[in-house]
């Protein structure tokens, strides 16, 4: 008998609370998931596809659905940290498969450069460029819009004559980073 009462009471309470929650879930229903937009805003938008997705937005969607956060090579540690902050997960070291080779000593951003004598105007790079930063047409020499180039590297591989190189942008007084030590070294030589 006692057991029965207990079960009844618990059942009643549960039913009551369940009803309350049910009402609340309708009342406080949230549409959509804005997280993808936020993630997308954190990504560097190089559209390089090094993460294995066809662009930054798709990767953002994938991350929102549980993909690893450490696949964005152009963004590097910084981006991973920001994503980790946003999602409240631990920072992971950048995925080895997606790591960029930082063999060059320069940390300046790189852009593509076409060696113009060698270009045969095949337009293969144009098709590869995710941001339409290469200008040219069939049998015409191509050129890079430096301001638009994201340095994603995608045009290098398709070039049949290997006339595209990634070159660091020049250091000017506008983008100088106040690295006084470097000057001092230069001056001792």
């Amino acid at each position: 008998m006692n057991i029965l009462i207990a079960i009844l009471v618990l059942g009643a309470i549960s039913a009551l609370f369940g009803a309350l929650l049910g009402y609340a879930s309708i009342r406080f229903h949230v549409e959509g998931d804005p997280i993808v937009e936020q993630l997308d805003a954190l990504l560097p938008q190089t559209q390089c596809g090094q993460c294995g997705y066809p662009g930054c937005k798709p990767y953002a969607e994938a991350v929102a659905n549980g993909e690893a956060i450490n696949k964005c090579a152009p963004g590097g540690e910084d981006t991973i940290k920001k994503i980790a902050d946003l999602l409240g997960v631990d920072v992971q070291p950048i995925d080895e498969n997606h790591e960029q080779d930082d063999s060059s000593q320069s940390n300046r951003p790189k852009v593509a450069f076409i060696i113009e004598e060698d270009c045969i105007g095949c337009t293969k790079c144009i098709q590869a460029c995710p941001v339409d930063a290469i200008l040219g047409a069939a049998k015409q020499m191509h050129t890079i819009l430096i301001d638009e180039c994201t340095g994603c590297d995608l045009c290098v591989a398709p070039c049949p004559v290997d006339c595209i190189e990634m070159r660091p942008t020049a250091e000017t007084i506008q983008n100088w980073q106040w690295d006084l030590n470097k000057i001092a070294v230069k001056q001792v030589d």
């Binding site: 997308d40 990504l43 560097p44 938008q45 190089t46 559209q47 662009g55 930054c56 937005k57 951003p109 045969i120 105007g121 095949c122 337009t123 144009i126 098709q127 995710p130 941001v131 339409d132 930063a133 290469i134 200008l135 040219g136 047409a137 069939a138 049998k139 015409q140 020499m141 050129t143 819009l145 301001d147 638009e148 994201t150 049949p160 250091e171 000017t172 007084i173 983008n175 100088w176 980073q177 106040w178 690295d179 006084l180 000057i183 230069k186 001056q187 001792v188």
Partner: protein, 679 residues
């Protein structure tokens, strides 16, 4: 506003937070007159000596130039021209180290001085009150005048402004230690300066003109008071000596009690601030038609045996000035340890607190250089240390007490070390004016300003990257949309063709192969072809869309190349074979000619392609830089409705990027002009 004037008349001023009182050291040079130097042998003129853009060159190597002749020009309002400081020959136009803390090289004009100092034709204007505003502004712009206090903001932009100006503030505070250039300029040229101020008065018509000058320049104050005694509008305000009262924002606060809102310019408060040396340059330019080709530079410091103020032509190398004033390199004593080279003496352009050390003695004097400071080790030991004495911050808060912007330097350095950009922005890092007061008082000897500069540069770069990312995103989306449309268009075409074929088939089977069916089939074929053709023509050559359709033609250069290679190889083979197989001569000759013909054809083809390419390429390149063209070409491929959509998307993205860029530009402008500091 009257109350402000009342207070000023009573000699009462407002205060800004913080400030320091470093040893002034102005007596080293303030007693001696400004000296004129003999002409140097060579001048190096950087094309850009101010904030903004550099102009286009008007001269070439080998040209003879006259004194005062403009060497660059530009239609861009942010560009100011540079002029030949004396007559001579342009010997080179190349990159050379410029007066910038980075020690980077920029494009410079090298002038070999001929020593004759021949002027260009000048038009001296006796009565400037007859000139129209536009004339005066044009004269100022053509004279290449940029703010001579520090930042070098183009003056003609600053004075070309909306009418209701409350205050014109003339900055003669010269609050940095050592520098006496303005002090002596006022003492010797007060009449001309007042003329300059009157010209500004005519242009801006402010309610009041306030000259802010620190109390440690009695002779200059007297000269100014004498020169302005008949003019009630001009008030000479003698300020208590405190660094950095010559900072634009600080001076405004002291004189008017108002604060310039963060991210805005003084003009928003109806205030225009001009440096006193700029006023002199204006009067020179408007009245005597002398462009900005010289300025007063204080050569000072205990490492000079003859420190003095000098009239220096722009472009004069620092080495020449140091030789003229008796610079002696201090012999480093026992200090040189084996692993560190003997410390080079520092030479500072600007004052000890905001100046920067220059890389070598080739650096030329530019429009904003007001001082060359060569300190001895005794007077400025910290400038000689080739290692940092930095220890951990103990949060003593002395930096916060002296910060004229009322920031929290200790928190800023904490966040700067951690590269916490978000926090730095929240702590208003960009309101820092780089005055160096915090680092001056820091007992832990932390180079605070250096930390802030690095952080600022990093944040600016990050913002640029963000803008770029936004742009890239828009372009990526636009491209995706385009590809999508192309795909659907192609599919449609295929479907149509398939439907047509099907219809034909149906007909055929029904009619049993009559003549009409053949006609219909032909018609359908023609139609399909036409559709394909129109599709092709629709595709512009500009950017690489529709390459797949063009594949056939595209590969021709490659083909040519392959053909050429083949021909070559054949020829080679041939020549190798020739001496051995003589009996096959006949056949070989035939082969030879064949190969030769093939090669020739290929060459011709290639050449044709080349010509074609280059001609189109030229038209291409001219348009290449314009993004709009790019977009147009993108839009061309789309049908009417879709075109509209894409255009809207693009326009929105563009506008967004532009707005952000503009905002940044504005902020940057504001901050840089605010940094302008008269000293």
């Amino acid at each position: 506003m009257e109350s402000i004037i009342e207070r000023i008349n009573q000699g009462k001023f407002w205060h800004f937070h913080g400030g320091i009182h470093p040893p002034e050291q102005k007596a080293i040079t303030s007693g001696k007159p400004i000296k004129h130097l003999p002409l140097p042998k060579q001048l190096i003129l950087p094309l850009q000596q101010h904030i903004g853009r550099q102009g286009d060159l008007l001269v070439e190597v080998g040209d003879k130039v006259l004194k005062g002749q403009a060497l660059t020009q530009s239609s861009n309002p942010m560009a100011v021209p540079v002029h030949a400081p004396t007559s001579g020959t342009i010997t080179a136009i190349k990159k050379s180290v410029i007066a910038h803390p980075s020690g980077l090289s920029e494009l410079c004009l090298f002038i070999d001085v001929d020593g004759e100092d021949t002027w260009k034709k000048r038009e001296i204007c006796q009565d400037f009150s007859k000139l129209s505003h536009q004339d005066i502004i044009k004269k100022i712009a053509d004279a290449g005048i940029a703010g001579m206090g520090g930042a070098g903001f183009p003056t003609h932009i600053k004075v070309n402004t909306k009418p209701d100006i409350n205050f014109l503030i003339i900055n003669a505070a010269e609050c940095e230690p050592y520098i006496t250039a303005d002090d002596l300029l006022i003492g010797e040229q007060s009449e001309a300066i007042v003329d300059g101020i009157k010209i500004l008065d005519q242009l801006l018509n402010p309610a009041f003109i306030l000259i802010g000058i620190e109390g440690n320049k009695p002779r200059a104050i007297k000269a100014l008071q004498q020169a302005t005694q008949h003019n009630d509008k001009i008030k000479v305000c003698v300020l208590p000596t405190k660094y950095p009262s010559g900072g634009e924002k600080q001076l405004i606060k002291i004189l008017t009690g108002k604060e310039v809102n963060s991210g805005t310019l003084p003009i928003d408060l109806g205030i225009v601030v001009q440096n006193i040396a700029t006023c002199f340059a204006i009067s020179d330019a408007v009245i005597n038609d002398i462009p900005l080709i010289r300025r007063v530079v204080t050569l000072t410091g205990r490492a000079l045996s003859k420190p003095q103020n000098l009239w220096v032509l722009l472009g004069t190398q620092v080495s020449y000035l140091l030789n003229q004033t008796g610079f002696f390199r201090e012999v480093s004593e026992t200090k040189s340890t084996p692993n560190s080279p003997p410390p080079n003496p520092p030479v500072i352009m600007g004052g000890p607190l905001m100046g920067f050390s220059i890389l070598n003695e080739q650096v030329p004097i530019v429009k904003t250089s007001n001082c060359i400071l060569a300190p001895s080790k005794i007077e400025m030991p910290s400038a000689f240390d080739n290692y940092s004495n930095e220890v951990e911050c103990i949060r003593c808060g002395q930096c916060a007490d002296v910060c004229p912007s009322q920031l929290l330097p200790q928190e800023l350095q904490w966040s700067a070390k951690a590269k916490d950009h978000q926090q730095l922005i929240e702590l208003n890092l960009f309101d820092c004016i780089d005055c160096g007061a915090c680092a001056y008082v820091c007992p832990s000897q932390i180079p605070l300003v250096q930390y802030y500069r690095v952080a600022k540069a990093e944040i600016r770069q990050q913002q640029q990257l963000d803008i770029k990312a936004e742009k890239a995103k828009a372009r990526f989306e636009a491209r995706k949309l385009r590809l999508e449309q192309e795909k659907t268009a192609r599919k449609e075409k295929h479907d149509k063709a398939a439907a047509a074929r099907k219809a034909v088939m149906n007909k055929k089977s029904a009619d049993g192969g009559t003549a009409s069916s053949a006609v219909a089939a032909a018609l359908a074929r023609v139609k399909a072809k036409k559709a394909a053709k129109s599709k092709n023509t629709e595709l512009p050559v500009a950017s690489g869309e529709g390459q797949s359709d063009n594949d056939q033609t595209e590969t021709s250069p490659v083909k040519a190349a392959i053909a050429r290679a083949k021909a070559k190889r054949l020829a080679q083979e041939k020549s190798a074979e020739a001496p051995v197989a003589s009996n096959e001569n006949q056949k070989n000759v035939v082969d030879d000619t064949k190969a030769r013909i093939a090669a020739a054809v290929a060459k011709a083809k290639a050449k044709k392609a080349q010509v074609n390419k280059s001609s189109i390429e030229q038209t291409e390149l001219s348009t290449a830089t314009k993004q709009e063209n790019m977009n147009e070409s993108v839009q061309n491929t789309t049908t009417e409705a879709e075109e509209k959509k894409a255009r809207i998307v693009l326009a929105v993205a563009k506008a967004k990027a532009k707005a952000k860029l503009k905002r940044m530009d504005k902020a940057q402008q504001a901050s840089t002009t605010n940094n302008e500091e008269s000293t």
